[in-house]
Amino acid sequence: MSFALDILTIAAVSAGAFFFLAGTVGLLRFPDTLTRLHALTKADNLGLGLVVLGLLPQAGSVRHGLKLVGIWLLVLLAGATVSQLIARAARQGGPAR
C-alpha cells in the first residue's frame, strides 16, 4: 500500500515539476505581457495542484491534507482574480510600458 502511495507521490510531483518547467519556458519565450501572464497562471497553478496531490499521501493526517488542499484552492481563487486585474492593467497601460 505504501509502495503504491509512493509511486503516486513520485508521479504527481514529477508531473507538477514538468508544468512548472512549461510555465517558465512560456515566461521566457512568449513575446508579450498577456501571453506571459497566460503561461504563468495556467501552468503554475496546475503544477502546484499536482505537487499538492503528490504530497497528500505523505501528509500524515487528514487535517494536514485538508490544509494542503485548502491552500491550493485559495491560490486558485486568488490567481484567477489577480491575473484578471493584471491583464486589465496591462491593456490599459499598453504593452510598451
Binding site: D6, T9, I10, V13, S14, G16, A17, F20, L21, G23, T24, L27, L28, T33, R36, L37, L40, T41, D44, N45, G47, L48, V51, V52, L55, Q58, G60, H64, K67, L68, G70, I71, L74, V75, A78, G79, V82, S83, L85, I86, A89, A90, Q92, G93, P95, A96, R97
Partner: protein
C-alpha cells in the same frame, strides 16, 4: 522518498528563479506585477515540498500566510503599479 522530494524541490526552485528573471527585468511594470503571482504558486510549491523534506508540518501554515500575502502584494502592485491609475486615484481624492 526524501531524496526525490529534495530533487524536485531544487528543480522547482530553479524554475522559480529562471521565471523571475524575465518578470523582474521585464520591459514594463505590468510584467513585474506577476512576480508575486509566480511566488504565490512556485514559492508555495517549494515551501510545501520543503516542509515534507525537512519534516516541518507547520510549513503549511507558512504557505497559507504566503498565499494570502502574495495576493495582497499582487493587488498592491496593480493598484500602485501604473502611474495613470494612480493619477485617477489622486484626482478622485480631490473631488471628494
Amino acid at each position: 522518498m526524501t531524496e526525490f522530494l529534495t530533487a524536485a524541490l531544487g528543480f522547482i526552485l530553479a524554475m522559480l528563479a529562471l521565471g523571475l528573471v524575465p518578470i523582474l527585468r521585464g520591459p514594463g511594470d505590468a510584467d513585474r506585477m506577476m512576480a508575486a503571482q509566480l511566488i504565490g504558486t512556485g514559492g508555495i510549491a517549494a515551501l510545501l515540498l520543503l516542509g515534507a523534506v525537512t519534516g516541518v508540518p507547520a510549513a503549511a501554515d507558512v504557505a497559507l500566510t504566503v498565499a494570502l500575502l502574495a495576493t495582497f502584494a499582487s493587488i498592491a502592485f496593480v493598484k500602485k503599479g501604473l502611474p495613470h491609475l494612480d493619477a485617477d486615484e489622486a484626482s478622485s481624492t480631490e473631488d471628494r
